[in-house]
């Protein structure tokens, strides 16, 4: 079993604070991997380094056998490495449908030339994007609000929209940053079902989450981060029994 994503020896400092200090881990192809750890462990920073939003001081990120060093975020998204955000970041002045169609449109369709010339071909390729957008919005349970502005969605719906947007990019790996944060419990349940369905279709997931119920019920493997590096990896049962993990969350006994 080969790893889809390999992160090796990542270091990232913000001023004097080391957010990541030699973080090394890998995400297995076709699995759902959880990434947990106490606040300040460096989970979101790691996600930003992997997605290219932050460049690391040291270390390498390789995806699908390719070193991603220096590749800007939009190029990483284009090769199938897609992330979502901790606080849902919808494009507020675009409708739900537009958010999803945007993600599904290619750079070739978004040139000024195509806006002015050869518009028939563009119309045809866009029609295919519209069709996929409908399919994915229906699966995400957002079709009935497709023409509403994205800012009018509830917190949970915004999380679903982020996932739907990510799917439009035909991702190999989706990194979810706290998908259950601020989401009503019944919606968390349907979110878990949706993610499991997508994983069965071959999409690899990496999930940062504090909701242990979600981690326990979804993840094949869990990586525990503490103080900017990997503490331990294993199944949820294994890591939840690990003394080092308990110490990291609760503090060491005197």
């Amino acid at each position: 079993m080969s790893a889809l994503l390999d992160v090796a020896g990542i270091e990232k400092k913000f001023g004097g604070v080391a957010a990541l200090s030699g973080c090394t881990l890998s995400i297995a192809r076709g699995k759902i991997s959880g990434l947990i750890g106490p606040n300040g462990a460096g989970k979101t920073t790691l996600l930003s380094v992997i997605s290219g939003a932050l460049s690391p001081d040291k270390g390498t990120v390789s995806f699908d056998g390719r070193d991603l060093g220096g590749l800007p975020p939009h190029r990483r998204a284009a090769i199938g490495l897609v992330r979502t955000f901790q606080i849902a970041r919808e494009l507020e002045n675009l409708t739900v449908f537009e958010n999803v169609v945007l993600a599904g449109s290619s750079p070739e369709e978004e040139t000024t030339f195509r806006a002015l010339f050869k518009r028939r071909g563009l119309k045809q390729s866009q029609a295919l994007v519209f069709e996929r957008a409908e399919t994915i919005l229906k699966r995400a349970g957002l079709w009935h609000v497709a023409d509403n502005l994205a800012s009018a969605l509830s917190g949970g719906q915004k999380k679903l929209l982020e996932l739907a947007r990510a799917l439009m990019l035909r991702p190999k790996l989706v990194l979810l940053d706290e998908p259950a944060a601020g989401v009503a419990p019944p919606l968390v349940k349907s979110l878990i079902g949706f993610i499991r369905e997508l994983a069965a279709e071959g999409i690899t997931f990496g999930i940062v989450e504090h909701d242990m119920h979600l981690i326990a019920s979804l993840c094949d493997e869990v990586h525990v981060l503490a103080e900017g590096r990997l503490l331990v990896s294993g199944s949820f049962d294994e890591v939840s029994r690990d003394k080092r993990v308990v110490d990291a969350y609760l503090g060491r006994a005197a």
């Binding site: 997605s51 939003a53 800007p72 975020p73 939009h74 190029r75 998204a77 284009a78 897609v82 992330r83 979502t84 955000f85 970041r89 919808e90 494009l91 507020e92 002045n93 675009l94 409708t95 739900v96 449908f97 537009e98 169609v101 945007l102 993600a103 449109s105 750079p107 369709e109 978004e110 040139t111 000024t112 195509r114 806006a115 002015l116 563009l122 866009q126 029609a127 519209f130 069709e131 957008a133 409908e134 919005l137 079709w143 009935h144 609000v145 497709a146 023409d147 509403n148 502005l149 800012s151 009018a152 969605l153 509830s154 947007r165 990019l169």
Partner: protein, 320 residues
């Protein structure tokens, strides 16, 4: 009276074209260009210099559009990594640099005296007295063509990507959009349109000097876009028209307020426009019209979408 109306229509159309350019840059792509007048004057001067230097009226027009577009692309290239406020400062500074160059490089620009005798397109066809009507026809054609161009851009996948970059460039990048390149293209496209307006200005006045290019040009363009609704090309035509109508209508105030002299009245008119914009922002911040959106119901007619009206609401003005 006809001459007066023709003048008003020409001025309103030129300012509407400027606003169309600004709308692509600021309304759609979120790039705060406080230096509109700089690009406008570069368009006018490039037109005059090339037209008089042997390029003729049409060569001048082309030069005006290209000069402003290239300058815009260069500025965008230099500043595209800056966030909103800093781009605004750079653009403001650029307009000032352009003004100083026009004022001081007399060998090229005629300095404070400006450039006169700018050749006009189709000037031989009609008499001098009738020319403004012909020019108005051409300017209306230019306005229509610009409107079509801007609408095609705004409603295309390109325009959608620009709106995404405007709303949140981090998210746009996470969705595979190259925000830097999109911004440069938007700034250059808007700059080309503003340059076109500058060229038309040169053809209309036939004599240009630095005093014609003050920051009020920038202010009118922003007012038109705000009043019309950011992102809406049709709306801003209404906006530009209303502002011109208001400006001209208040000219007749002197008949009703005899105790104010011309200078005071001019200041009062500007103050009224300013108050109008403030009121508009309080009571209708989204402007006259919303930006065009891609409707799921229209795009997938067979999918029977029942719209969910409960959660519909407006979120303008854009946070930027």
């Amino acid at each position: 009276m006809t001459a007066y109306l023709v003048t008003i229509l020409i001025l309103a159309s030129i300012s509407a074209i400027v606003a169309l350019g600004l709308n692509i840059q600021w309304g759609v792509a979120g790039l705060v260009n406080f230096g509109v007048v700089g690009f406008y004057s570069v368009g006018a001067y490039a037109t005059a210099i090339v037209a008089l230097g042997g390029g003729g009226a049409w060569g001048g027009l082309l030069a005006g559009v290209l000069a402003s577009a290239v300058l815009s692309a260069l500025i965008a290239l230099l500043t595209v990594r800056l966030t909103d406020d800093y781009l605004a400062i750079v653009a403001l500074g650029l307009a000032e640099v352009v003004r100083l160059v026009l004022l001081n490089e007399a060998w090229l620009t005629g300095g404070p005296l400006g450039i006169s005798g700018i050749p006009r397109p189709f000037a031989g066809l009609v008499t001098e007295a009738n020319y403004p009507v012909l020019l108005l026809g051409m300017i209306l054609l230019a306005l229509a063509a610009t409107l079509l161009f801007a609408e095609a851009l705004v409603r295309s996948p390109f325009g959608r990507a620009l709106r995404a970059v405007r709303d949140d460039d981090t998210v746009a990048a996470a969705l595979g959009k190259d925000a830097l390149s999109l911004r440069i293209k938007a700034f250059a496209a808007g700059g080309a349109i503003i340059g076109l307006a500058g060229a038309l200005h040169a053809f209309y006045i036939t004599y240009i000097d630095p005093s014609q290019f003050t920051s009020i040009v920038t202010a009118y363009a922003f007012m038109a876009v705000i009043a019309g609704g950011r992102g809406s090309n049709i709306g801003l035509i209404i906006g530009a028209g209303s502002i011109m109508a208001l400006l001209e209508a208040t000219r007749f105030l002197k008949d009703f307020i005899p105790f104010l002299d011309g200078t005071k009245l001019a200041a009062l008119r500007l103050a009224m426009i300013g108050a109008g914009i403030v009121l508009l922002l309080i009571f209708r911040p989204q402007g006259a019209m919303a930006e065009p959106r891609l409707s799921a119901r229209a795009s997938r007619p067979e999918a029977e979408l029942k719209p969910d009206r409960l959660s519909e609401r407006k979120v303008l003005p854009h946070a930027s």
